[in-house]
């Protein structure tokens, strides 16, 4: 590649429009507003309550991921801001960027503990509860303190 072509391709790359990346604050803020979450949700995020909540994972089920159209940015009222900051502090892991519902925020920490290296495409395509079932099957009974889910391996291929 000669110099001229190199300059042209470099400029073309610079001109290319990148989609605006929504940050995790926008995602959580949108979930909070759309679902009308309040301080009660924080109590569910409490580690003890969160584990107890996970024991309700009884029947094996594959849940579909809800699709959401996030806004480009999110401006929160002061109450919403406090709640969002508290959620971000409580669930401080990279899977939160892929949560679309309050349920998924609750599953987020447990899923990360089960497998901190789930590929992004799976996090985007599958509901976190489904991923938890899958990961529990892989480790054969889940983590200590959490009852094993239903029997049989689940195939997550679409």
């Amino acid at each position: 590649m000669d110099l001229l072509q190199s300059i042209k391709s470099k400029r073309a790359k610079q001109k290319k429009k990148d989609p605006v990346a929504r940050d995790v604050f926008t995602r959580v803020g949108w979930i909070v507003r759309q679902n009308g979450l309040d301080e009660g949700f924080l109590r569910m995020l409490d580690p003890a309550a969160n584990d107890a909540w996970q024991t309700r994972l009884g029947a094996a089920r594959v849940r579909l991921k809800t699709r959401t159209e996030l806004p480009l940015f999110f401006l929160a009222t002061q109450e919403e801001y406090r709640l969002i900051r508290a959620i971000l502090r409580a669930v401080d892991n990279p899977y939160l960027e892929f949560a679309n519902t309050p349920d998924e925020i609750l599953w987020c920490r447990y899923l990360f503990r089960l497998n901190p290296a789930i590929p992004q495409d799976r996090l985007i395509r599958f509901h976190f509860e489904t991923l938890v079932l899958h990961e529990q099957d892989k480790v054969g009974g889940g983590l200590a303190g959490v009852p094993p889910p239903g029997t049989g391996k689940r195939n997550l291929s679409p």
């Binding site: 604050f25 926008t26 803020g29 940015f73 999110f74 401006l75 929160a76 009222t77 002061q78 801001y81």
Partner: protein, 371 residues
């Protein structure tokens, strides 16, 4: 703005500025904290309107707009609501109507005193080259049957006493535009204050109009009542027609269509056969480039179709901006000349020919006009 006032938000008012609840994201939060740290924790907040962010009862408010700026620009912000409030206010003081404006309508004066004399011929002819305004108005009044209601209205118009009374009462009741007390204000309280403030503003502007109206009426005291009646008639109807010349007001109050009737006329086709064309009105607008058009549904070799408001096919009169009286006169004359004398049967000029040509494509036919 309406959504803002109908919301259940709480505002903070300081030094005529509205402070709204601050919406946050991490970067705004950082900025707000930096601002607060820069100001220092111990410094007491002075109500000067210089504070960008105010903390009150655990809430943060950010400086937005000036209340008086909102009041002064309310007409542009919410034209419909402003119009409704203005109508209610004018009705309260019996100031509705357009009667006063018509006397100061420059375009109307040009039409009456510069364009009309060119097209109207009296039985004796004008005695001098240019008739006076009084003579012209006398002539127009003699040609138009003005209903008695307007003659009575003219007498009332020239009676200044009621107007002076209204002005005096407005002087007494004129509300002073006071800003609301500083501090926390609900949206309904802000909305109520805004209503009062806009009403006061309207009254102030109408006060000026009323003063101007009174001044104008004092100047008109020496005018003949029938002349005043003529202007009131025009203010109501917006149009008059005398001997084939006339004008009609458009939706915009100071724009008019000036027209002249062609009368019946005869054109001949290639074989010399005559066609009698009916009367039509050739018009020019005072608000756009002077291009003559036919107001009625009409067909002619110089008109593209058979419909109303068609421009006449001719070389446009050169103008820039709004046409002058001379341009309007010239355009009307050229438009009428084009219709009556512009068609050349040998050349069959224009969009259509009167007779059917060898290669005949049926578009507009003139058979029914043949005599």
């Amino acid at each position: 703005m309406r959504r803002l006032l109908d919301s259940n938000l709480v505002f903070f008012i300081e030094s005529d500025f509205v402070y709204m609840p601050l919406l946050l994201d991490p970067s705004i939060d950082r900025e707000a904290r930096a601002l607060s740290e820069a100001r220092g924790p111990t410094r007491k907040r002075a109500p000067t309107g210089e504070n960008i962010i105010i903390r009150q009862d655990g809430m943060q408010f950010v400086k937005t707009f000036n209340l008086f700026s909102l009041v002064n620009n309310f007409k542009a912000i919410n034209a419909h609501e402003y119009h409704r409030m203005r109508e209610a206010c004018l009705h309260q003081y019996r100031l509705n109507g357009d009667a006063d404006n018509v006397f100061g309508d420059e375009m109307l004066n040009r039409i009456l005193f510069l364009i009309l004399p060119h097209f109207i011929k009296t039985s004796r002819g004008w005695q001098r080259s240019r008739p006076s305004r009084e003579e012209l108005l006398d002539f127009i009044v003699s040609k138009i049957d003005i209903p008695p209601k307007y003659v009575a209205d003219a007498a009332a118009f020239l009676d200044l006493q009621p107007l002076e009374n209204i002005l005096k009462s407005m002087d007494d009741q004129k509300p002073a535009l006071q800003p609301p007390a500083g501090g926390v204000l609900t949206s309904s309280e802000l909305s109520a204050w805004l209503q009062e403030a806009v009403q006061a503003n309207i009254l102030t502007s109408e006060y000026a109009r009323l003063s101007r109206a009174l001044k104008l009426r004092r100047q008109l005291l020496r005018a003949k009542p029938e002349h005043i009646a003529l202007f009131l008639y025009i203010a109501d109807f917006g149009s008059i027609e005398i001997a084939g010349f006339g004008f009609a007001r458009m939706k915009s109050p100071r724009d008019y269509l000036v027209y002249k009737r062609t009368g019946e006329y005869v054109l001949k086709d290639y074989y010399g056969r005559p066609y009698l064309f009916p009367d039509c009105r050739v018009a020019v607008s005072t608000y756009a480039p002077a291009r003559p058009f036919v107001m009625e549904k009409y067909k002619h070799p110089f008109l593209r179709g058979y419909q109303s408001n068609q421009e006449i096919c001719m070389k446009p009169v050169e103008t820039s901006g709004k046409p002058s009286p001379e341009t309007i006169i010239r355009s009307l004359e050229e438009g009428i000349t084009a219709l009556r004398y512009g068609y050349d049967p040998r050349r069959r000029n224009g969009y259509h020919s009167l007779d059917k040509t060898y290669i005949y494509i049926p578009t507009i036919t003139f058979e029914e006009y043949r005599i």
